[in-house]
Amino acid sequence: MSLTVEHVNKSFAQFHVIKDLSMKVQEGTIFGFLGANGAGKTTTMRMILDILRPDSGSITWNGRDVREEPRRNWGYLPEERGLYPKMRVDEHMLFLARLNGLSKSAAEKALTDWLERFQISANRKKRIEELSKGNQQKVQFLATILHDPTVLVMDEPFSGLDPVNANVLKEAFLELHRRGKTIIFSTHQLEQAEELCQDIVIINKGQSVIQGSVREVKRQHGRNVARLKLDNDPEAHWLEQLAGVRVTKRREDYIEMQIQADFNPNVIVEAALQHGGIISRFELTEPSLTDIFIEKVGATSLPDAPSAELPA
């Protein structure tokens, strides 16, 4: 029971946007889709939704090609939000829900329920353009889920939300998760992925870089981070000579370094004492997804790489 993407390739004109991408989303999980701008996240999502067709490879839901799946099983929140600005909220939502196969009465029931949950019932008869930005986002989210789809594909759902609305959305995510929906969402806010997702994939330039459960990815990464501060020797250049240690950041209040998984951190403390340092801070932490992301993607992803210009 899963959404399986296997060896998918997609090109736009001369640009090879997705290169042999494979991934697996277990049913009922929240799946984080991470990557820099132009990495191919939106293109992959559109292929999952059968808006674009892959050049080669297959995308299946529970063993069936996604092209054969009824449309109403899918909910899509596009990255660029948009609704008919002149339409009233209820008219618009009912139109979309019925277009997705819901009967009129079922659509109205679902709408009333969700408007209440999002506390925007008062806006039911307003035109979309009259709503505040935050309420427009909520309505846009409603448009995605009103027809009760099995799989939700959301492109950057948290972008442009203030903390309060981001929290409302997070709650809705967890609610849908409890209802057994499969949620795939792309983001570059890695804290959110870490907080919500069971599994993630990081893609770069159309290729999968790392995938698996969040815990597994962190372990696979095989490194811990150590932070050290010496009161009398803020530079501590001797650290560079230690085997198995790599200094990554030098901040005002500490030096951050990555250490191999099998490296005994005591060595750093001993070396510091040998150099006559006065230790005021020494800590070991797991790497955050941000660190992994920057390490895997940051080096190769240039902001103005041609693939970022593509209609994807």
């Binding site: 004109a13 559109r46 939704l49 808006i51 674009l52 067709r53 009824p70 449309r71 109403r72 899918w74 899509y76 596009p78 660029e80 939000r81 948009g82 609704l83 008919y84 600005p85 002149k86 339409m87 139109f95 979309l96 019925r98 277009l99 997705n100 196969g101 819901l102 009967s103 079922a106 029931k109 679902a110 329920d113 209440e116 949950r117 448009a143 995605t144 009760d148 609610e175 409890r178 209802r179 210009e309 593509l310 209609p311």
Partner: protein
Amino acid sequence: MSKKTVTQPEAARDLSEQGQTPAAVSAGGAAAQQNGRNILLIIGREYKNHITQRSFLISTILILILVAIGACVPTIVQFFSVRTSSPTRIAVINNAGAIAGLSQAALDSYIRSALNGTDTTSHAPYAITSQTQASPESLQTQVKNGRLDILLALTRSPQGNLQFTYYTHADPSNDGNLSTIQTLAQQLNFLDSARRLGLTPSQTSSLVAPPAFSVVGTQQNQNARSGSQIVAGYVLGYLGNILIYMAVTLYGMSVAMGVAEEKGSRVMEILVNAATPFQLLAGKIIGIGAAGLTQMACIVLVGIGAILLQTPLQVALLGASNTGFLAIFTGLSIQFLLLLLLYFILGFLLYSTLFAALGALVKRQDEVRSAVQIPIILLVGGYVVSIIGITAPDATWMKVLSYFPFWTPMIVLTRIGVGTVAWWEVALTTGLMIVAVVVCTFISARIYRLGVLMYGQRPGLGQLLKLTRAN
């Protein structure tokens, strides 16, 4: 959390209700059902959205007012011209004695009927006074200071020939009355000369009687048409052309703008997940077309109503009825009108598929106008051809060009209006147009599918062709 426990079973039930329908019918049947349902939903949205737009309502009301006023203009002009123009005052002094043997009273009535026809009311164009043996000087003064418009003095030369002197206040080079009076003078002179030559009145009348002159049309159908039908044909030809031109530019542009708007506001991204490009294309075109037909129907109904009102209005204002307008309507047959409707709809469908595809290719709404220039030029071409061809409806080049689907509606309507079209030509051109509509819809749906999500550069023609073949 209590809310959640309520909604979950509901959601589950909704799902099972929905699940039954596709299970009961075959997969193809369910797809077709959903297809029709979606198109109807989109048509409904487009129609409602279009006719409730403030700009649409305002423009419809303005057009209706203009049409109503326009229909009344001829009556109003007639009304004011009758009210404001007083008859031309003319005085005739006869110093020539008996003319053509007529008594003074007979001469007066001859002049009156020659100038005013049968109109004996006070609205008649000329008010005539006649005098004999009077001195012209006092009357000349009256002409000079404008109390008289024309003074006509009749005298005889020493040889006995009639002589006319025309005094006028108006500029002789721009005097509309001069030719009328000259004609009268010639007639009087002719009658008088005939009398002096000793001809009897019957000889005279045989001299001026018009010769037998009959007109035979050799075209078969030409004979079957009454004058009012020919007038109606011209009106239909022009009207059909103008209607189609208006409908395609107005509503075709709405289609292109609507597609570009959906693309620009990104609502398209959700729509393409819920409905197929074909459903979106068909729904939009039919929805806007229906809104357009509604507007056209309002205009035509108000126009006909206003024109029908003219007869009672004219009777009320002028005391006389003028059936000029009604003649056009009695000349229109139901067949004409049905064909007008048929070509109107086919023409709109054909062009609007192109407009939709082009609307899908632009990035922003303001680029639509330049993007739709090619179909507009095509349309103007058809319009110009049929306006030129209205004088030669049965020419071979008109016949040939009427098979070009993009020009068929305008040219065939012109030909039906003023010429002859065989039934099989109507059937064949209609068939060709339907084929063209299907082909264009097919191509447009593909361009649309690819264009609506393309926000990069506008693709070139070659790239477009490649896109329509691929996928």
